[in-house]
Amino acid sequence: MLKLPIYMDNNSTTRTDPRVVDAMIPFFTEKFGNAASRNHPFGWEADEAVGEARKQIGNLIGSGPSEIIFTSGATEAINLALKGVAQMYKKKGNHIITQVTEHKATLDTCKRLEKDGFQVTYLPVDKFGQVSAEQIREALTDKTILVSIMAANNEIGSLQPIKAIGKLCKEKGILFHTDAVQAVGKIPINVDEMGIDLLSMSGHKMYGPKGIGALYVRKKDPRVRLDPQIDGGGHERGMRSGTLPVPLIVGLGEAADICYREMAEESKKTYRLREKLRKGIMSQLPESYINGHPDERLPGNANISFAYVEGEGLMMGIKDVAVSSGSACTSASLEPSYVLRALGVGDELAHSSIRFGIGRFNTEEEVDYVIDLVVREVNRLREMSPLYEMAQEGIDLKSIEWSGH
């Protein structure tokens, strides 16, 4: 039986896998020790569990267990990576390269660093939301200390050429950080093969709990050093102090382990459902457009613009389906998604976008339901849309002098 509402917003967050919850529970109840307590079994048990989680995460991204630094989430991991590197290596140089469609965690951290005297290059992206290693090569200066490019975009799902960028950075001896929040557990990531020196990830995007993330910090070739952003008891090799949240860490470890074992199969399924959704909707609705790269994208992500229909309005029509829109129709912000704008999607189509994020727990039946509902609602709203009416009458919408507000 189909159960409503349907959750199809897995780029925002994911349901914690019940197996993850099961793994966590004993660490709230009997095994509640402090992993830093060296002198009694409660501490040993907790420390052992944390060690196991490091291994599980390391397996998934191809790192050693001791290269994993636990944080409160990816936002903190990204802050630590960028600020930590900038401050540690500022004698070497003050230039950082990133790109315009990064998550705010990266962009706002870079803005902060600019205030502190660092120079940041924000590379533009092409119409698919991608940068090239060549663009980075051209932006490099002898002051460049860090390149930060996300592995996959959270809105449009586009993948970046991480391996080529990693290779370039190795060649130039520049550190490479990637925000792999959306990629880890969805597509294969290997820090050695991809030349990644620092990698940020988040529990709640990979069927783990919220409030936990990790920063991978390379220990060898090169050994990356960071200026800590949180001082205290010297946990996590001094890079991130604070008593470890053992249940959350166990959860992240279990989530990583499940991804490690099931990703190959799971990504085939999410891809198949994504394609079914995309084709089912777009074949029935003329003037609908996919945003981002057609193929080089996350398997579960479909970001589609429906001309003449406003995204938030559409979301109300499909309110039994949880999705996101690139439209922002509030007095605080009338500007649509900066990611879509950066791709050169016009503001009008950006306002018409819906992001569908298919994940582990979505079913074929749900996809069928969503296809029918979206097609019906878009058609209903087009009948109600003055823009659709004008387009049908052959009026060029660009020829009109809009009043704005």
Binding site: E310, G313, H405
Partner: protein, 140 residues
Amino acid sequence: MPYSDKILEHYNNPRNVGSFTQSDLNVGTGLVGAPECGDVLKLQILVNPATGMIEDAKFKTFGCGSAIASSSLATEWLKGKSIEDALAIRNTQIVEELALPPVKVHCSVLAEDAIKAAIKNFQDKQQNTNAEKREPVAVG
């Protein structure tokens, strides 16, 4: 943010969706907003020239649910009103009736603007024809 029942009611069962012939002398059309801003509202009134009363009103809206509900409500309120009474409709009344949250107040502003624009368009048309002493009006 959850929407009020009234917004949802208008959104699900919008009143008076449609269009009148724009060139009709007794029709006033207001088109406000911009696609780049995420809302465009077209509101039309049909005025009885003998009585000066708004006999019918229609709308089409590109926008969020609150914009659609504000337009729908505006057309409901316009029907049967004199031009003067229609001009007295304030966006704050729409906010109140629909329980629009603060971030959606601009939708009601747009609806008020559309009402004013439609009336102005109607009045302009009337004046032009009076000046032209009933010369046939170009349709287009």
